[in-house]
Symmetry: C2
Subunit: 171 residues, 2 copies
């Protein structure tokens, strides 16, 4: 099974000039999601993991799935205004604009080993912002997982943690 | 284990007068997520299921988890502008405003038995909109699953499919 066969490339989304990599088809195929799960679990086997952080919103598709398979909990790292109650927030630049991420203030992340999950690594702005939020909360990001990596954008260079990706694209 | 213990109630979110039910704490506890999974699987055991539809964004936390456990695929039902490529869209009213949901046009939902998943049922506007999108795509919603139901808002009455909820609140 070749996971690349399950990715649809869509030009000019969300803005002109971006060739968007869509995981919609992959999600509809159980064997493909199962392979993502198995591969993710293999990649993080070396780490002792306390919690999984899922990035809003496609990261949620995998964060509870992987957390449940590992027998740990997860939490949401959300865009501005989406989390209720007290939050810790940080602004970041992304491929096409500026945004803000938040985690709940009453999450106990101190001394916790955390794996971050998103569907895609582009410039690394989102994951770096998530790393900073965890670091501010005195947790440790032991690794990050993405299904797709746009290698030409060198997102890895921006991150403090090791990123593991399953599919690599030049553009 | 009592799942109610894992729900945090937060006043005036997202707007004044709403007592928001937050699943953030529940997510951080593996035993609670596992109970949600087990209970959901029990509830849908009578149905023959082809696909799970997850509602943007907290539905995604459970859609792939349940789909993977059942050995089927899933798909995203997303808010406006979030899905790339051709989409089918429908407007709906929610507890506090108006919004729009979309599914990908190239999803093959025809004659498929579908379970919808969201974290919460309030007025039923979101799930009803999702039902209509599935029905327009010639699929069948055999049932819907939510973690939390705000029974006083009578969301069930608006829906065509049977909704199963794990936690019921009067306000």
């Amino acid at each position: 099974m070749n996971l690349y066969d399950y990715i649809e490339e869509i030009p000019d989304f969300p803005v002109k000039g971006i060739l968007f990599k869509d995981i919609s088809l992959l999600l509809t195929k159980n064997e493909a999601v199962n392979k993502v799960k198995t591969d993710f679990l293999k990649l993080i086997k070396p780490y002792q993991v306390d919690l999984i952080g899922g990035l809003d919103a496609r990261g949620f598709l995998f964060s509870t799935l992987i957390a449940d398979a590992l027998g740990v909990g997860s939490f949401m790292i959300r865009k501005e205004g989406k989390l209720p109650g007290g939050v810790i927030s940080k602004e970041y630049e992304l491929e096409y604009g500026v945004s803000k991420l938040s985690v709940k203030k009453n999450l106990d992340l101190k001394n916790k080993n955390i794996i971050l999950i998103d569907d895609l690594l582009a410039t690394g702005g989102t994951l770096r912002c998530a790393e900073d939020l965890i670091s501010f909360s005195k947790g440790t990001v032991v690794s990050s997982l993405v299904v797709i990596e746009l290698v030409a954008l060198s997102g890895k260079d921006k991150l403090n943690s090791t990123v593991h990706s399953l599919l690599k694209y030049d553009t």
